[in-house]
């Protein structure tokens, strides 16, 4: 018998077949995303040509349209203007339009950032505290409490949206950054507690016990010994919370309008002349998805854990 290879190892032919099928699947599954990125570099005409153009002359029209508001002007008026000062003005003028000001996109994008970072920080901080207590102390009704924390994730957002809407109106939190930060913090808390508890369970108790024998108090031991040890887990958890806040739509569309609206409810409303402005939507989508794709690559080792709330760890 051939001893160089265990009989459990798949044959090299079956490996190659498997690889081929997986590559085909990966290519097909990435087409929609690549198509959106490609569309962001098309001009308005080439985005609506049929058959769809795979090879096209790249244009930044989508990005210009994403960041500006424009209005159509007569040729006479355009001729009376001084020559365009920069490339994007020239591009807009070639469409017989003038730039009337910046669009709302940057504001929406930075709202997403502010609310995302704010809620991520808060939920990871609070989650780390609770996770530590659940991991190390005998807490009465521990399992019930943990299940309660998890069950809050099962509520359909719309079911609690009306009461929150009314409550926020009374408290003056409606359409504010603070209100959204609090809301997303709460939604993310269940994930943060469950994930971080798993990570903290893996840190040997002996570390902080040794520190406490050396004269640290429990709090000092937590902040100076346990937290640094749990850094990988905390980072992974933070990225998951960030992705959730970044992507969230239901609460954002129901509870925010002008001041604190994030990018997801805004992107679908980018309208050009005569319908949706596809290159601009493509540009907005690309800029919006980019951070998440980078995060996913950073997270790949912890993905499984994150998506199952720590139920599956390997």
């Amino acid at each position: 018998m051939d001893t160089s290879r265990s009989y459990l190892e798949p044959s090299s032919f079956s490996k190659k077949m498997a690889a081929a099928i997986i590559i085909v699947y990966a290519v097909i599954t990435l087409i929609p995303i690549s198509w959106m990125v490609m569309t962001s570099f098309k001009n308005v005409d080439s985005a609506i040509s049929y058959p769809p153009e795979v090879l096209f002359e790249p244009s930044l029209e989508g990005y210009v349209n994403l960041f500006t508001n424009r209005s159509r002007q007569s040729q006479e008026y355009l001729d009376s203007l001084p020559p365009p000062e920069n490339w994007y003005e020239e591009l807009v003028r070639s469409r017989e339009m003038v730039i009337t000001g910046p669009s709302k996109f940057l504001g929406r994008y930075s709202n997403s950032m502010i609310i995302g970072f704010g809620s991520t920080f808060a939920s990871v901080f609070l989650g780390a505290l609770a996770a530590y207590a659940f991991s190390r102390f005998r807490v009465p009704l521990k399992d019930d409490l943990l299940f309660f924390i998890l069950s809050t994730r099962m509520f359909p957002p719309i079911a609690v949206a009306v009461p929150i809407f009314i409550m926020y109106r009374k408290l003056g939190l409606g359409d504010t950054h603070l209100g959204m930060i609090i809301l997303y913090t709460v939604v993310n808390l269940s994930l943060a507690v469950w994930l971080l508890k798993g990570f903290m369970d893996e840190i040997p108790k002996e570390y902080e016990e040794a520190a406490m024998i050396d004269g640290y108090s429990r709090l000092q031991a937590f902040f100076k010994v346990v937290l640094p040890q749990a850094m990988t887990g905390i980072a992974a958890t933070a990225i998951f919370c960030m992705i959730f806040s970044w992507n969230e739509y239901a609460f954002a569309v129901l509870l925010t309008q002008f001041n604190a609206q994030t990018a997801p409810p805004f992107i679908p409303t980018i309208i050009g002349e005569g319908g949706l402005d596809w290159p601009a939507i493509g540009a907005g989508t690309t800029l919006f998805l980019l951070p998440v794709m980078i995060f996913t690559i950073i997270l790949r080792k912890h993905l499984l854990r994150g998506i199952t709330f720590g139920a599956v760890r390997k």
């Binding site: 190659k16 929609p32 049929y50 769809p52 505290l129 924390i149 099962m154 359909p156 998805l289």
Partner: protein, 299 residues
């Protein structure tokens, strides 16, 4: 107790409450209070847009209205068939991909990461760009379908027979990696000695698959479907942006209907009753499912 006293600072009990307290308080304030409030409103004829009017207690009237409304059962049916097809497709394709990835060929980690990308994206934004892919005049999806099989012009979103499939396809595209990842973990948890023993007993590859691989991966697959089931029961964002429940109400899932009643018609009392019914349904089904899942695991 005396052992702990020798450390300085707060007692463990105090630290415990200090650490858990804020989380529990926040969840009570922003999650449980609204839920209780919703339950309370479900027994009244409250309209959230009429601020001055005092809501009146109407007993179970809202619940009776919801349960007797034929349209609600239609939404439930739309939701059920959406869940059935997405879960079925994601189970089959996800498990299939996991079995292939488990052959540990070169580069499979990179490919796994690439395949996983769709599920990390914002569902609402995914919904928007699929309307472009599905566009009957210029959409890439329509072009590709016509390239392989000439269907002529068709409108995935505009046709009430095709629209339910449009959302099933997008959800499957987006979430198959989820079942795949979890199944893959299941496959990797099978100890090698089981296969070694089977080889010694001259079990065929097919028998090994049926008697070793499948039973070991099943609990993982069921867990993945539980997560997906809960999410798809609540499904809102992707479908709102893709079809907004249309055409007509062909893709109006329960939570889209709930949003219309609550935030467009402002029937707060009625929609709260509907929300409570949905919540009880998801909780009930979830509990039964977990029990069944645990039974299977024990076997």
């Amino acid at each position: 107790m005396s052992v702990k006293k020798k450390f300085k600072g707060l007692s463990d009990k105090a630290v415990g409450w200090l650490f858990i307290g804020p989380t529990v308080l926040l969840l009570l304030a922003i999650n449980i209070y609204p839920l209780v409030y919703a339950i309370k409103m479900s027994f009244t004829n409250f309209y959230a847009n009429k601020i001055g009017r005092e809501p009146q207690f109407v007993g179970l009237k809202n619940y009776i209205k919801v349960l007797n409304k034929e349209a609600i059962w239609e939404k439930m049916q739309v939701t059920a068939s959406f869940m059935f097809w997405t879960l079925l497709l994601q189970a089959i394709i996800g498990l299939g991909l996991a079995l292939l990835l488990n052959r540990k060929f070169k580069g499979n980690e990179l490919l796994t990461t690439l395949i996983v990308l769709p599920m990390m994206l914002s569902p609402a934004v995914v919904g928007v760009f699929w309307t472009y892919l599905y566009n009957p005049q210029v959409g890439l999806f329509n072009y590709v379908v016509n390239f392989f099989y000439d269907l002529g012009s068709f409108d995935m979103i505009g046709s009430s027979t095709l629209a339910p499939w449009a959302i099933v396809i997008v959800d499957t595209w987006m979430w198959t990696p989820f079942t795949m990842l979890i199944c893959l973990a299941g496959l990797r948890s099978v100890p090698n000695y089981l296969y070694e023993a089977a080889e010694v007993d001259r079990a065929s590859k097919w028998q090994q698959f049926i008697y070793i691989t499948l039973p070991s991966v099943l609990p993982f697959l069921l867990l993945a479907l539980l997560f997906r089931g809960i999410e798809n029961f609540k499904m809102f964002d992707m479908v709102v942006e893709l079809t907004s429940g249309g055409p007509g109400s062909a893709t109006e899932l329960a939570s889209i209907n709930l949003k219309r009643e609550a935030f467009e018609k402002w029937k707060t009392g009625y929609s709260s009753a509907f929300a409570v019914i949905l919540f009880v349904t998801i909780f009930g089904f979830g509990n039964v499912y977990v029990k069944v899942m645990n039974k299977i695991k024990e076997r």
